[in-house]
């Protein structure tokens, strides 16, 4: 018995393909959830730090949409969900998307999808029937896994910062992001928004595994359709995720809306297109503002790992004095340096965050696992500092253009204050507080 039937027009098919491509950048499996009025496709990345969801509205996106819930007992199930390997879906929809002139002869007339799931004799299959001109019918019967999807939760109430911008404009900006950069810092001050994509230097012994790279794009807030963000707030997300989103959003000319509160809280990006509502929830990387961690374990860990702590910190003192002109930029960059650079490990820690908050609703409680992250932060900071000279020279270079673009960003005092907040959070590291001390002097 088919519990779900829907028909797609060739245009909708191509949109679905675009959506699947986008989902494929997050996870290799797509979760499909059908209810009486909509179909929701979601993907959650393996580290659970990014979540993508496409809501396809039954009567708008589809030519026909019918959900006949299976009855279990006397109660009809409200939702049907399954999980399909994205590669299988993509291979079904691949190739025909694009310009219709290419495949005039075997062009698609429509696509019928039905989901058969039944107890007993019925085979459980996701059946896609593509009806082409000349009566060529391509039928795919894909296996699926019955699996309830995980949804990320975003609390709009606490999201005080928001901006929205045309997706095409945003795509133009994204094209400038340095290749291979990992993090994206979104920062605004005095009517200018800086999008900085950057990579931290990664060292393994004396070998440089990754060269640091910073690319800053400064945009006037007038480019935005709407812009209401706290001044001088740094929000850091993954470049890769952001690029995946904007690549998809840029296909159609729409307005991308971002909502977020503060670092280390999720950020939501939404946009919609005829019958399709797209939502992404990304974890932001950031400092912990609550001084809830016990400094002791961190310190001891750091000590055991880095016996040369004393020398490295003294070096830092020396180096941090070196770039006086970009004093405003340097601390902010320094602050970034404390963020973990290899992205894979850190989201796994944040992973819970996206979800714990869903049930708990208590924000602060949710952020507890940061202890572990601090350990990483520490380790990373050390790694960077073990090579202070090169690191610093690179930073000053990269910092100068960003400063010049930002123009009137000389209010070092304000920055320093903002910074003090950040360093407070990192107090357990002790050495950073020394840095802070130097600046104050």
């Amino acid at each position: 018995m088919a519990i779900l039937n829907f028909t797609l027009s060739p245009e909708a098919l191509s949109k679905l393909h675009d959506a699947l491509v986008c989902l494929g950048k997050f996870s290799e499996a797509v979760s499909i959830e059908a209810s009486h009025d909509k179909l929701v496709l979601t993907a959650l990345n393996s580290s659970k730090s990014a979540y993508a969801s496409f809501k396809l509205i039954g009567n708008k996106f589809f030519t026909k949409y019918q959900y006949k819930p299976p009855r279990s007992g006397n109660q009809a199930k409200e939702k049907f969900y399954c999980k399909i390997y994205n590669k299988a879906l993509l291979s079904v929809f691949k190739g025909r998307v694009g310009d219709p002139t290419r495949e005039r002869e075997t062009g698609i007339e429509r696509c019928d999808v039905s989901v058969e799931d039944g107890e007993g004799k019925t085979k459980s299959r996701f059946v896609i029937k593509i009806i082409c001109r000349h009566g060529v019918i391509k039928t795919y019967r894909l296996t699926f896994e019955s699996f309830a999807p995980m949804h990320a939760f975003f609390d709009r109430a606490i999201a005080t910062n928001s901006w929205s911008i045309s997706s095409r404009t945003l795509r133009e900006f994204v094209e400038h992001f340095g290749p291979g950069t990992e993090q994206l810092d979104i920062y605004s001050a005095e009517g200018r928004v800086s999008l900085t994509s950057y990579t931290e230097k990664v060292m393994s012994g004396s070998e440089i595994l990754k060269q640091p790279l910073h690319t800053t794009i400064a945009i006037d807030t007038l480019e935005f359709a709407e812009f209401a963000v706290e001044e001088q707030l740094h929000i850091v997300i993954s470049v890769k995720d952001f690029k995946s989103i904007i690549t998809h959003a840029g296909i159609t000319n729409t307005i991308v809306k971002a909502l977020y509160s503060r670092p280390s809280c999720p950020m939501q990006l939404t946009y919609s297109d005829e019958g399709m509502i797209t939502e992404f929830i990304l974890m932001t990387i950031g400092e912990v503002r609550t001084a809830s961690q016990s400094p002791a374990p961190n310190a001891s860990r750091a000590g055991s790992k880095r016996p040369l702590e004393a020398t490295s910190s003294s070096k830092r003192n020396a180096t941090s004095e070196m770039p006086p002109p970009p004093a405003s930029a340097a601390p902010s960059l320094k602050k970034r340096a404390t963020r973990p650079s290899p992205p894979p490990p850190q989201p796994s820690i944040q992973s819970n965050d996206l979800f714990v908050s869903q049930g708990a609703g208590d924000d602060d409680g949710a952020w507890d696992p940061y202890e572990e992250q601090d350990e990483m932060l520490l380790y990373d900071a050390d790694g960077a500092e073990s090579n202070p000279m090169t690191m610093n020279s690179n930073r000053t270079q990269s910092a100068i253009p960003s400063q010049s673009i930002n123009g009137p960003r000389v209010s070092a005092g304000g920055i320093a204050n903002g910074d003090s907040d950040a360093t407070q959070a990192l107090e357990p590291t002790q050495r950073l507080s020394q840095v802070h001390g130097v600046f104050d002097d």
């Binding site: 085979k123 000349h134 060529v136 391509k138 039928t139 795919y140 894909l142 296996t143 896994e145 019955s146």
Partner: protein, 342 residues
């Protein structure tokens, strides 16, 4: 070349073509195996390639494709009109097909298609509509077409190819090998059960469609009624089928007495994909034993038609029911798996 030409006897075979391109295009369709069996007759050249005795590809290069074609068969003239028939008297030998293709490519016979060779897994849609159509900048259009001379002096002599293009001459002598006694895959023309003539591109489209499930087996089924012809394959992620349900519109000729179904190794059928892409029409024939014959009609540049012939031996199926049962039991397993989930 001079050494060969000036030998006492005239060479057995000498031919000149205005371009190596056609020859390359045709032979490229059967490059699934390394050694090609070449047979020279008064009608043309016959290149046969086979794989594990279950797949066979034959290209017959008619003498009309050459500007001059001289063949001095030593003993008796072959009276047989059928180019497929193997007469032991005809000069025949083996050469390395890949080496021959390399040679023919020297002057960019494949210039338009280079990308395809570097990416064989390209989905093929790019050049699907009019494959190998010369564009305004191809050598042919610019009048830079070279000359390709082929010759073969006799048993033991190399097969030599001389390519001349814009004042550059390349001479290649390919060693010839003793022919293995090639046995054709027998196709019973008198016990033919299926005969379908259709556009080759549709077959290409169907096969590339099915390849997405990375199947091992391709099932071809022909029905006297709708859905007439269906190709199906199943892989790990599910199964896929392509049906040509409006037989009359799609299939130029469709002769099926009763339901006919056979399974073939998917990879083998896919090895003929290049021919499907190049050809304009294909004749799909199946006999009582399930041997599949695909005959491709290729319209060669500058007019003229060439044929590429493939034959495939089917997988052994005791009877259809058993195969279906197999499938069912597999599905049962999967269902159990599905049910095991929450």
């Amino acid at each position: 070349m001079s050494a060969i030409v000036e030998a006492d006897e005239p060479p057995i075979f000498k031919a000149v073509s205005s371009s190596a391109r056609q020859l390359f295009q045709l032979l490229n369709c059967i490059r699934f195996a390394n050694k090609a069996h070449v047979q020279i007759s008064n009608e043309g050249l016959r290149f046969a390639v086979e794989e594990s005795r279950v797949m066979q590809g034959i290209v017959f290069v008619e003498k009309a494709l050459f500007t001059t074609f001289n063949c001095n068969i030593p003993a008796i003239e072959p009276s047989d009109d059928d180019p497929d028939a193997l007469s032991p008297d005809l000069p025949n030998f083996q050469i390395s097909l890949s080496a021959l293709l390399e040679t023919l490519q020297i002057f960019g016979a494949a210039d338009a298609n280079n990308s395809r060779f570097s990416k064989p897994d390209n989905d093929g849609y790019g050049s699907n509509i009019r494959p190998h159509r010369p564009n305004a900048f191809s050598n042919q259009a610019l009048g830079m077409a070279g000359v390709c001379r082929l010759s073969y002096a006799g048993i033991g002599a190399p097969f030599s190819i001389i390519l001349e293009e814009s004042g550059v001459t390349t001479t290649c002598n390919l060693n010839t090998y003793e022919p293995e006694s090639p046995e054709e895959i027998p196709f019973q023309r008198d016990a033919m059960q299926v005969k379908i003539i259709m556009q080759a591109r549709w077959l290409f489209d169907a096969v590339s469609e099915l390849s997405s499930t990375s199947p091992t087996r391709l099932d071809i089924t022909a029905h006297p009624q709708a859905p007439y012809l269906s190709l199906s394959a199943s892989g790990h992620l599910g199964s896929a089928a392509v049906e040509f349900s409006k037989g009359r519109e799609l299939l130029e000729t469709f002769t099926v007495a009763e339901r006919w179904t056979q399974s073939y190794k998917f990879e083998m059928i896919r090895a003929a994909a290049e021919a499907m892409r190049l050809a304009s029409k294909v004749s799909v024939r199946g006999d009582e034993q399930g041997v599949l014959s695909l005959q491709f009609m290729v319209e060669v540049e500058g007019g003229g038609v060439s044929f590429i012939d493939f034959r495939f031996v089917p997988f052994l199926r005791e009877d259809d029911e058993e195969a279906d049962e197999d499938e069912d039991s597999q599905n049962d397993d999967e269902e159990e798996f599905d049910d095991g989930e929450p």
